[in-house]
Symmetry: C2
C-alpha cells in the first residue's frame, strides 16, 4: 500500500481546526462586503512570463506540466505558454484588471481569498501552500489619497473582529521618509530605507554601520536616521519630533499632514489601534505612499499579520495606468498561530447542535421528521446512525461534542430534549423549542484558558 503521510509545507486542518480558518475567512468577507468590496477569484495559474515580471521570485514558482505532455513541450521553452501556480494575488489582480478593464467600474473595490503556492523550502510558519486574503481599491489613472486611510480602517475592523489579543497598526508614508532623508542631505534615500528595513533583524549598531558604509552617511546623519526610525506616536506629535531632527521642506510637511490625516481617520473609526511608526518601510520598489504593518501583542515573532499600502503602478497599458491601495493577510500563517497558541477554538467541533435519537429502526422516520422540523428552523441536526441503547447514543453525541440529544416521544408521549452538558432534560416540541442562541451554530471563542485537547 502507498505510504500515507503529511507533506511538509502543505498544512491541513482537522474539522474543528478548519472551523477557525473558515471563521477568519468569513470575518474578512463580511467586513469587506460591508465596505462595498466585491469578492473575486482568479484562476490558480498564470503564464510564467507574467509571474516573473517582477524578476525576483523565480525560484519560488511551481510550474505545471501535463503528465502525458509530449517530450517537445519543454516547460521552460516558452514562458508565455508555460503555466505556473500564482505565488500571490497581486500579479493575478494586475492581469485581471487589464484583461477586464472595460467591464469593471473604477475605483474597483475587490477582495480575494485564495490559496497561493511557493516552492520554497518549508520553515517555521512558512508554507508551500497557503491562503492569502487581499483587499484593494484600484483606480483608473487617478486614486484619491483618502483611500489610504479607508483601507487602514478596513484592516482595523477585520483584526478587531478576529479572536486576537491586542493588536496595533503601524503606519508610515514614503513621502515623509523620503523627504526627511533628502532634507538630511542623503542623495540615495532608497539606500537609507534599505538599511533601516533591516533594523528588526540586525539591530541598531549594525544598521548604523550599514548607513555609513553603504548609504554614505556621516555619523551624525546616521544617528538622525536612526532617531527618525525610532519615532512612534499615537497622535500628531510625531511631526514636531521629525522637525526637531532636522526634517524640513515641502515633502516633509506634506508627509506629516498625510500621516496625521490617516492617524485621525483611523482613530475615529476604530479607536486605540493605529500609531505612526517611522521605521516602517516595506516593499521599497513597490509602495509609493502610505504603508501599513500590524502586529499582535505577544506574537511579534509572527511578523506583520496584515500589511498594505499605496502603489501607483499596479498595472498599465497604452491607455491607462492603475494605481492602487491594498492590504493583505497571510491567512494560513495567522490561523496556524491561532491554533498552535490556543488563541481560538470553536464552541464545538462539529456543526451539529442536536442529535435526534432513534429508539428502533422502525421509528427512524419519526426521528427524521423531528430533524427536518428543527433544520427548517435553522437548527443543525443529525439523526443517530444506529438505534443503539440510548446511553450509547448519548455517548455518541458527547464524543462528537453535540450539546443536545432529542428523544422523540413514543406512542403519543411528548418529545424530550436533554442538554448533555448539564444533564437537564425537559419536554419539548420540534416546532417551538427555543434553542439557546449561543448554541444554535458554532461560534469561535478566544481560548485564553489552558491548552485544549488537540484532536
Amino acid at each position: 500500500m502507498a505510504k500515507i503521510a503529511a507533506l511538509s509545507g502543505f498544512p491541513e486542518w482537522l474539522p474543528a481546526e478548519r472551523q477557525v480558518e473558515q471563521h477568519v475567512i468569513d470575518v474578512f468577507r463580511e467586513v469587506a462586503e460591508l465596505h462595498g468590496f466585491s469578492g473575486i477569484e482568479t484562476r490558480a495559474v498564470e503564464p510564467l512570463d507574467q509571474l516573473l515580471r517582477k524578476g525576483e521570485i523565480d525560484k519560488e514558482v511551481y510550474l505545471l506540466r501535463r503528465l502525458q505532455a509530449s517530450e517537445e513541450e519543454d516547460p521552460a521553452a516558452d514562458a508565455s505558454r508555460t503555466l505556473g501556480l500564482h505565488f500571490d494575488l497581486t500579479v493575478p489582480l494586475a492581469r485581471y484588471v487589464l484583461e477586464h478593464q472595460n467591464d469593471l467600474a473604477f475605483p474597483f473595490r475587490r477582495f480575494q481569498i485564495q490559496k497561493v503556492w511557493r516552492g520554497e523550502r518549508p520553515q517555521d510558519g512558512r508554507f508551500r501552500e497557503f491562503y492569502q486574503a487581499d483587499l484593494d481599491v484600484i483606480g483608473q489613472d487617478v486614486l484619491p489619497s483618502h483611500v489610504e486611510s479607508e483601507v487602514a480602517i478596513v484592516m482595523a475592523e477585520i483584526l478587531s473582529r478576529l479572536p486576537l489579543p491586542a493588536f496595533s497598526i503601524h503606519v508610515n508614508t514614503r513621502k515623509l521618509s523620503e523627504g526627511f532623508f533628502r532634507s538630511l542631505g542623503f542623495e540615495d534615500h532608497t539606500a537609507v530605507l534599505r538599511s533601516l528595513d533591516k533594523l528588526p533583524k540586525i539591530g541598531e549598531d549594525a544598521v548604523r554601520t550599514l548607513l555609513v558604509d553603504e548609504a554614505g552617511a556621516t555619523a551624525e546623519q546616521a544617528d538622525a536616521a536612526l532617531a527618525f526610525a525610532g519615532i512612534r506616536s499615537r497622535d500628531a506629535s510625531f511631526g514636531d519630533r521629525v522637525r526637531a531632527l532636522g526634517g524640513t521642506g515641502e515633502m516633509v510637511e506634506e508627509g506629516i499632514a498625510e500621516l496625521t490625516a490617516v492617524l485621525e481617520r483611523v482613530e475615529a473609526a476604530v479607536p486605540g489601534v493605529i500609531l505612526a511608526d517611522l521605521s516602517i518601510a516595506r516593499g521599497l520598489d513597490y509602495y509609493t505612499g502610505t504603508v501599513f504593518e500590524s502586529f499582535v501583542e505577544g506574537h511579534e515573532s509572527l511578523g506583520s499579520v496584515c500589511s498594505g499600502g499605496r502603489y501607483d503602478r499596479l498595472a498599465e497599458d497604452n491607455r491607462h495606468s492603475y494605481p492602487g491601495v491594498g492590504l493583505s493577510i497571510g491567512l494560513s500563517r495567522l490561523v496556524s498561530r491561532l491554533l498552535s497558541a490556543d488563541l481560538a477554538r470553536p464552541s464545538r467541533p462539529v456543526p451539529t447542535c442536536v442529535l435526534v435519537a432513534v429508539s428502533d429502526e422502525a421509528s427512524r422516520g419519526a426521528s427524521e421528521t423531528v430533524a427536518r422540523t428543527l433544520r427548517g428552523r435553522g437548527v443543525p441536526c443529525e439523526v443517530a446512525p444506529t438505534a443503539a441503547k440510548l446511553g450509547k447514543q448519548i455517548r455518541y453525541a458527547d464524543r462528537r461534542g453535540i450539546p443536545f440529544v432529542w428523544f422523540p416521544g413514543a406512542d403519543g408521549a411528548e418529545d424530550e430534549v436533554k442538554d448533555i452538558r448539564t444533564g437537564e432534560q425537559a419536554s419539548a416540541s420540534a416546532g417551538s423549542w427555543q434553542v439557546p442562541e449561543e448554541d444554535r451554530t458554532v461560534r469561535i471563542l478566544p481560548a485564553s484558558e489552558a491548552a485544549r485537547p488537540r484532536s
Copy 2:
C-alpha cells in the same frame, strides 16, 4: 508588454458573476452544516502514485515542478515524491481519512468545496480548473444503508434551494440491477451494465447489438434488459414491473425493498423530485449500492448536475475498511450554465447598498461617520470617492447598481436618503433608517426574464 489573455479551460468570473458562484457555494455549505456535516479542505497536491491509484486517468494529471529544480529531479522518476494537482476530491478524502483516522469520529460527515484540475483538452463545459463540491458520510468498517437516502435528501435540499428550473433525482441500486441480470441468466452482469451505460450516447438499437455481441445475450434477454433499463417510477410500482420482466430471487427482492425505502424517505423530506430510474448505473467499478444522478429540466444536455451513491471501499488499511456514501456537484459547470442561460443573477452587481455622498472634502469625515453607523447596523456602504457634483455622485451609484444615495445634512439639517431607482427621497437618520430587507444584502434571483446585459 506581455500579452493579456484569457486561458482556455480556466474560467474566471466578473464580480457580479462571482456572486452567483459564491451563492451556490454558500447554499451547499448551509445545507451541509444544517445536516451536521463538517467542512474540510485538503491540500491541492497529492503524490503522483496516489493520484494514479485508480489507473485510468493518468493523462489528466498536472504535475508540479519547481522552476529552479535541479536537472536530476525528473518529475516522472519517483511517483511517490512527484506531486500532482488533485483531479477530484475523492482521492484526497481517502488519503485524509487514512491519515487522520485516529482524530476523526466515525461515521465521519464531511463536505468539501475546492477547485480541482484536469489537464484535458477544454471543450464545451469542460474546464481544466473547476470547483467541485462533495459531501460524504464515511463509516469505519460499517455504514448503515439508511445513510444512502440521507445523502439523497441532502442533495434534494441543496438543489431545491438553488435558482434552478424543476429538477429530478434519478435513483437505482446496484443490487437490483445485478440481481435482475443474474435472474435473467447473464453470467457477466457488469458487461450488461457497461452496455446499458451507453444508452444515452448510442441509443437502444446499438445497445441491443452490444448486449448480444459483448454480453452474450439472446435476443430475448437483450429485450428484457432494455425493458428493465426503461423503467421509471415515482412510487413502489417499479417492483412489479421488474418481477413481470422475470426478475426473481432474494437479491432482486432486497433491491426492490431498498430502492422503495429510498423513494419513500426522500419523498417524505422533499416531495416531488425523486424517481426510480433503472437505467442509472454510473461508476461500475466504484459504486456498490444505491446510485443517484440528477437532471435539470430543459438542461438535460448538462448531464447529471449532482451525482452520488454508495461505495464500500473508499479506503482501507491493515486494520480498517472505510465504506462511504457521497454526492458530488460539478459546481463550476453548473454555475457556468446558470450564467450563460441567464438562470440566475444578483439583485445588484456590487455588495454596496448605500453610497454616502460627500459635499466637499472638508466634510468627508461626517460622511464616513454616517457610513460607519450604517455598517454597524449591517448595511454595506461606500463613501463617494470624490466630492464631485451631486448629480455626478448619483450617476456613480447608478453605474455601479448601488440602490441608495445618502446625503448628510449640512449645518444641522437632517440627512436625506434617495432611492435612485424610484427617485424617492426622504429624511433619515443613520441610526434608525429602516433599509428594505430585500435591499440590505445582495440576493441571487432566478432570472427567467429576457437576457440581462452581460457587463
